[in-house]
């Protein structure tokens, strides 16, 4: 035997600590295997398998929340602390809703590689969960790449729609560029502290450990590390001035993927950002806080101002997600335990609202990807009262009107900013939120108080009116959120069964059909899966606004990591 200093071997306890990740990975492999045996007409079953995997992973998260030991596993690579489990919860919720949207979307669009689509959705979620749970720079990087690579493919997966391909390409080039910058920052951090473990970095800056840090300020290497890491993360969370890729990618990607990625990547990137900056580099906060202060202000102002001029609702939501990243950066710049729990609450409310908002867009957009401009929303309340009501609730929440999830998130972030001596950030945040109300309420105005105008898509709007006659829209019932969640997979399963995917040929000739026969291009009625997902999102949006207690408690427990 060699006399090796490395004797570490993973134990069963280590594997138990990554239970949700293991379940998601298992489900992904199962889906890929099942794809071989399921005939082409019945690929909807795959969504069912995925959803069961997501439910099982949620149960795993629940088990760890009650029985977990909040320890790191695998030589300090990954942790099952409450922060990791909290973000797992959000990511699994987002991917679950994205999966519920998927059968309806795939049916109408040119997604031909269905097995790969579902497998990649789960693997992207796995990458996000790994990134959010990682306690070592290596795993943050690998998790980030797993989620990015999956999402590049998912963006470009509609082989006959050029905008989808283009979105995949743009996302790929810009995001890989950002990954390289982030990686260089990691190298510099490793060089200046001698470790890649976040707890090791934290220990390096422990008071009194390295007196020269206090006297000579800081090393230029460390400064370069923080700068590069900051730029890399700002790209990933689409903060201004690194937001250029966001609108194009969100608009070009399949809408079911956009709904998932717009929240999933934000959760993963913000949690990893907090782990690196708030926790590991917390002792150096005087160097990075001012930078995030500026970026937060730029992002809040820029995101909201650019959203105001948008005419397309899908694009408007993309800019609104940039603006929301700005509010989250307020919490990062405030850098207190209180602000950190505010960030987590905001992430939770944002997740619920945003998947709902993109779901509405998915329900309304026609097969050619059009039909989401403000003109198309005009008079929607008369044509599809259910969808319009759901959209109104979600938009009120995004605008931050008091008894809604959006208000709760903003309240905790801005209150923490005021308590943490960042009144300037809170004031700018509140002012830009008021600006935000303008463009959110403008959509509501269009839906309820304007007559449909026949501008975009020729006969599309008329066709939509006729096509919607027999629509089956589930009104948001005031069901208990938990019971809704358990009912969801069963109903989704029936949806996918009842609605076999149409033949690939019709999907391919979709573009031709869309231009020649307007009736075909009208937005079809909601599938059961989409209805369930929208209902769930709306109910949770209302529920989080009315009873934010449990999520606030969980977020505060997760944020306790910062106080240690």
């Amino acid at each position: 035997m060699l006399n090796t200093p490395f004797t570490y071997m993973p134990t069963g306890a280590d594997w138990l600590r990554i239970l949700p990740e293991l379940i998601v990975f298992g489900a992904a492999l199962l889906v890929l295997l099942a794809d071989l045996f399921i005939p082409n007409g019945r690929k909807g079953w795959l969504a069912m398998v995925c959803l069961l995997g997501v439910i099982a992973a949620l149960i795993g998260v629940g088990y760890l929340l009650s029985n977990g030991d909040s320890q790191t596993a695998f030589y300090g690579m990954i942790s099952d602390d409450t922060l990791a489990l909290f973000s797992d919860l959000l990511i699994l919720f987002a991917v679950g809703i994205g999966l519920l949207y998927s059968p309806g979307y795939i049916e109408r669009h040119a997604v031909t590689r269905i097995g790969e689509y579902y497998g990649l959705m789960l693997l992207a979620a796995l990458g996000m969960m790994l990134m959010a749970s990682a306690t070592n720079l290596m795993l943050i990087f690998v998790g980030l790449e797993a989620l990015s690579l999956s999402l590049y493919i998912l963006c470009a997966i509609e082989l006959t729609r050029f905008r989808s391909q283009e979105a995949g390409m743009k996302y790929f080039i810009l995001s890989s560029f950002a990954s390289a910058i982030l990686l260089y920052g990691m190298a510099m951090l490793y060089g200046s502290t001698g470790t890649t473990s976040l707890s090791g970095v934290q220990a390096f800056f422990a008071p009194g450990r390295h007196p020269f840090l206090a006297t000579s300020g800081y090393g230029p290497l460390l400064l370069a590390a923080m700068g590069l890491l900051g730029v890399g993360f700002c790209f990933k969370v689409s903060a201004i001035p690194f937001q250029a890729w966001t609108p194009d990618v969100y608009v070009g990607a399949p809408t079911s993927v956009t709904a998932f990625m717009s929240v999933g990547t934000k959760v993963a990137a913000f949690v990893a950002l907090s782990r690196v900056f708030l926790l590991a580099l917390g002792a150096q906060s005087d160097k990075w806080e001012p930078v995030f202060w500026i970026v937060a202000i730029l992002t809040m102002l820029g995101g909201n101002l650019m959203a105001v001029v948008q005419r397309d609702v899908k694009r408007l939501l993309a800019y609104s997600s940039i603006a929301n990243a700005g509010y989250m950066l307020v919490a990062i710049a405030t850098n207190t335990q209180h602000a950190f729990s505010g960030l987590l609450i905001f992430l939770a409310t944002y997740t619920v609202m945003n998947v709902g908002a993109f779901g509405i867009v998915l329900a309304l957009e026609r097969n050619d990807g059009q039909g989401t401009t403000l003109d198309d929303f005009a008079g929607l309340a008369k044509r599809r009262p259910g969808v319009a009501a759901a959209m109104a609730i979600i938009l009120f929440a995004l605008a931050g009107v008091p008894p809604s999830a959006g208000f709760v998130g903003k309240y905790y972030v801005f209150q923490a900013a005021i308590v943490g001596n960042h009144i300037d950030l809170a004031v700018i945040g509140i002012l830009t939120s008021v600006l935000g109300m303008y463009y959110y309420l403008r959509v509501i105005w269009a839906m309820y108080f304007t007559e449909p105008r026949n501008v975009s898509g020729g006969a599309g709007a008329i066709a939509a009116t006729t096509g919607m006659a027999g629509e089956d829209e589930g009104e948001p019932e005031p069901a208990d959120a938990a019971s809704g969640a358990s009912v969801a997979p069963v109903r989704a399963g029936t949806a996918t069964l009842a609605r076999p995917v149409t033949s690939r040929r019709s999907a391919n000739s979709r573009t031709v059909v869309a231009t020649q026969a307007p009736a075909e291009s009208a937005a079809p009625p909601l599938t059961l899966g989409t209805t369930v997902a929208l209902t769930l999102a709306v109910v949770l949006t209302v529920a989080l606004g009315l009873i934010p207690g449990p999520i606030v408690m969980l977020a505060e427990q997760a944020a306790r990591l910062l106080g240690q």
Binding site: F25, Y75, V142, L222
Partner: protein
């Protein structure tokens, strides 16, 4: 010592020259060949830094297998993308701005490199000490022991990445699948 210095300067010149070639050659195939030259020169850098195994995989896997795949695609797309695509440059001011940004970045990072000092006590000792492992087990064994004992988990996660890559190639590459 002198030999090492000469080797360093020659390698640095080759690496930087080939890197400039990657971004300034008009023909994508020449860019690709310069990138391979750059990767090989980095492998020699790794050798001078006593990272024998990393240098080997850099040559075998990266400069070898991966870049051959890359070169294959470049030559496949090059005949039509050669002159019309790479021939047209960005506007002159965009070149100026881009190069100016690059120079500023290089100067800033070099400043960090030359003024940055490693803290005296961050050098690893004990379990993570490189020298101790290399001395006791040899270079490649030290690499393997670290990989399969301490750092096995990220290594296992790279398996997920390869699954994703295969799925990507299948999902995007098999155009015939769309016509089933």
């Amino acid at each position: 010592m002198l030999f090492q210095q000469i080797a360093f300067y020659v390698l640095a010149a080759v690496a930087i020259g080939s890197a400039l070639g990657v971004i300034f050659f008009r023909n994508a195939v020449y860019c690709m060949l310069s990138l391979i030259l750059n990767l090989l020169s980095l492998a020699f850098f790794f050798l001078t830094l006593e990272a024998l195994f990393v240098a080997t995989i850099q040559v075998l896997i990266y400069a070898g297998a991966v870049m051959v795949l890359f070169l294959f695609v470049v030559t496949m797309l090059a005949p039509s993308s050669n002159d019309d695509v790479t021939g047209r440059d960005r506007l002159r001011w965009q070149w100026g701005a881009g190069i100016g940004m690059g120079v500023i970045l290089a100067v800033a990072l070099c400043y960090a490199a030359f003024t940055g000092r490693l803290a005296a006590d961050v050098k690893a000792s004990g379990a993570a000490s490189l020298a101790k492992q290399v001395a006791s087990a040899g270079n490649t064994q030290a690499f393997g022991l670290a990989l399969f004992h301490g750092y096995s988990f990220p290594f296992e996660v790279t398996g997920v990445l390869l699954v994703i890559a295969v799925l990507g190639a299948v999902a995007l590459g098999r155009r015939s699948g769309a016509k089933e």
